[in-house]
Amino acid sequence: MTEKLVIIGNGMAPGRMLEHLFEQAPHRYAITIFNAEPRVNYDRIMLSPVLSGEKTYEQIVIHGDGWYIDHGITLYKGHKIVAIDRTAKTVTSDHGVTESYDKLVVATGSVPFIIPVPGKDLPGVITYRDLDDVQAMLLAAQSREKAVVIGGGLLGLEAAAGLAERGMDVTVLHVMPTLMERQLDPAAGYLLQKAVEERGIKVICKANTKAIVGDGKVEGIELDNGTIIPATLVVMAVGIRPNVNLAKDAGLAVNRGIVVDSGMQTSDGDIYAVGECAEVGGMIYGLVAPLYEMAGVAASHLAGDSSRAFVHSDTPTKLKVTGIDLYSLGDFAEGDDREEIVLRDATAGVYKRLVLKDNRIIGTVLYGDTADGAWFNDLKKKRTDITEMRDTLIFGQAYQGGSLLDPMAAVAALPDDAEICGCNGICKGKITSTISAKGLTSLDNVRAHTKASASCGSCTGLVEQLISLTLGDAYNPKAVQPMCTCTELGHDDVRRLIKAKGLKTIPAVMQELEWKTSCGCAKCRPALNYYLIADWPDEYADDYQSRFINERVHANIQKDGTYSVVPRMWGGVTNANELRAIADVVDKFEIPLVKVTGGQRIDLLGIEKEALPAVWADLGKAGFISGQAYAKGLRTVKTCVGSDWCRFGTQDSTGLGIRIEKFMWGSWTPAKLKMAVSGCPRNCAEATCKDIGVICVDSGFEIHFAGAAGLDIKGTEVLGLVKTEDEALQHIVALTQMYREQGRYLECIYKWAKRIGLDEIRRQIMHDSEKRTAYYERFVFSQKFAQVDPWSERVSGKDKHEFNPMATVTFGQAAE
């Protein structure tokens, strides 16, 4: 009979334990997990990159919902276990679910330490432990106000850097004289403080918090010396302690953590503990490598192999703040029996210190240049006698053996058992042999198969060097990025060859350019469809099956599978008749939400797909056409009221905006194209963060382009100044056509401009009238085929199959 395994906690340690267990004894247990957090298992080390915006939650998920389903695991999300009954062998959650077990694994992790000062419970005081904390910080950061981080350790500094990155004014308070004093000596702590301050973060050391002050919410922090630091957000990152209450209540042996033997077994033979809550050999751990070691040991024991024992090893500490390199390992306190070798290069911001005992390395602190960390770690681990290389030891591995080695040679010289990825305990030999055995050729593949550099990512450089070492010239990370896995060719080559070989259908492109798949994928097909329609507007038959759903049905799909509809409102101008028509449609179709968009028009949300043609028919009767709010193409032209109404207006900005929109609607572009026209430099239409914008001035029209206000925020560049409205239109159209012909699919205009060079674009559009005219004319030609309202086409019956189910099976039929 299958045994029942119950796990309390769903963090990284139990996740890894299950991976090992499924390898060793795949079907031995029926598994139930209780997770106090309402979600799946994610990479907690990567919370800082999520906070700073370098990654998203989706990117740090380790096991998606599917993984639990595939392995038949019952996962209770948001269930906190409140009691373990060791006699009855059951656990009970706060929602009242009781589950019995044969074996139980306690993986309750740790809880943040809260300093017991007045005001610690005020709203606005948070800790830094899980995704909820990150989300709370992100929300608070939107105010761009002041934040105080209490704690100048690893977590505190990462939180501070992330909040500063998000635009907050951050102060770090640290109770000790230097930052990260447990991992860094004072000299490195000082360098770190300077680097942190250079990011605009204030650091106050020897700061004792007396109270958190505020009336109903956080308003500031008061220090011992009476100083008050204003803040709307306080993050406490002063440390963690093992979460042992549940185990203690159950009567398990508990010291600082839950006491386990070297097989991760607690004082109850059927109960194991892994992760930050476990205390093994008198030590508790917070870094991922030893926790993964625990996971491996526990898995072996659960699988029936009780020979494996937990072995302590020092783990290097690395800070995950982009641009600050530090590495520390082992014991670096001073002592009579110890010697040290120190290298300082203040200009380069490099500090290295090795602590030696009996001619062997026992501790390492590296700041600014951490490349030799793995090598020093290896020497320490193997207890290598360094007498022979003592004179050059501090310079690193490249300086050993007389001649100067390049970094590649240094990696090549590492022994096979040298640890490369500290988080996952992956050594060099494992990586190189897996690359050869599985024929891996990319960093992503190596990560997937070995897990090297898949946790904190700081050893990515080393892993890449190993890949090039193993593959030689076959690995070139700077090589042209292929469009997708269906081809080796990059976007530019494909565009060039489509023109050069006169390829006019998707099958022709795939055949001639030797596509590796039979009919492409969801990445290359829409790209090819765009290239073909842009290059052969009169000849190419648009392939709707290669378009993303929104462009296929001319509406925007929403998370629940309904659609939203945005009619065009030229230049953002409307009237009573149009508004009345919209109101009638909303009533008739019971549209749940009507919303004004950022592009000066009206969005109707929550429409069932089958109702779309009828909605469009009614809108069409009032003169509306599709606003193409779904298109990689011209979206909106925002305007201000201009010289007709505004006392500052210099030109008719509304009129120009409408003229541009009427001229350019319907055109497809590599990525969405949003424009704006402002009537004076006060810029009420916000034209200077658009893909293309116009600022009207007394002397004419200043044309801007290459702005961004999405994932990236970037002001526009000036293309040039023209005198008349006609010229403005011609230049804008020519610029758009140049982008249409050269842009890579999904490449925004600012990225394209960066790649091509602003001067080159100005030269062709502003100063080469022949080129400009040619671009303009090609756009005009293409518009002959593009300016067909897709809504009225569909009201007339085109693509009817898109909007109706193929069949409806009734209950009677199904039950027969």
Binding site: G66, S518, F548, I549, V553, T808
Partner: protein
């Protein structure tokens, strides 16, 4: 097996899909470039996206919401994602398509 006719293969565009409404939820019926027909639940294992609205390539479909790629043959997520939807037997007799109801009932459980 109890087969229910749902229409003709020509009702579905090549490299396209249609959905069939059933009392147990929507079923997505696909037609590949090679004229093969597959039916799976119209519900992505990730966030429930309507798979019938995705781009069809080879014997797979890419979900329109977050780009998961689902095998039409096995219903399993391809690549690094993990998850699975039920496949539903579909029969093609000279272009007339039918789906089997037993699996529909199963899917409803």
């Amino acid at each position: 097996m109890n087969w229910i006719p749902i229409g003709n293969i020509s009702d579905i565009p090549l490299r396209g899909a249609r959905c069939v409404k059933t009392p147990q939820g929507k079923v997505a019926v696909f037609r590949t470039a090679e004229n093969e027909v597959f039916a799976i639940e119209d519900h992505c294992p990730h966030k429930g996206g309507p798979l019938s609205q995705g781009i069809v390539h080879a014997k797979a479909v890419t979900c329109p919401l977050h780009n998961w790629v689902i095998s039409l043959e096995t219903g399993k997520a391809l690549g690094a994602d993990e998850g699975e939807v039920r496949t539903i037997p579909v029969r093609n007799e000279d272009g007339t398509l039918s789906i089997a109801t037993e699996r529909l009932m199963l899917a409803a459980e």
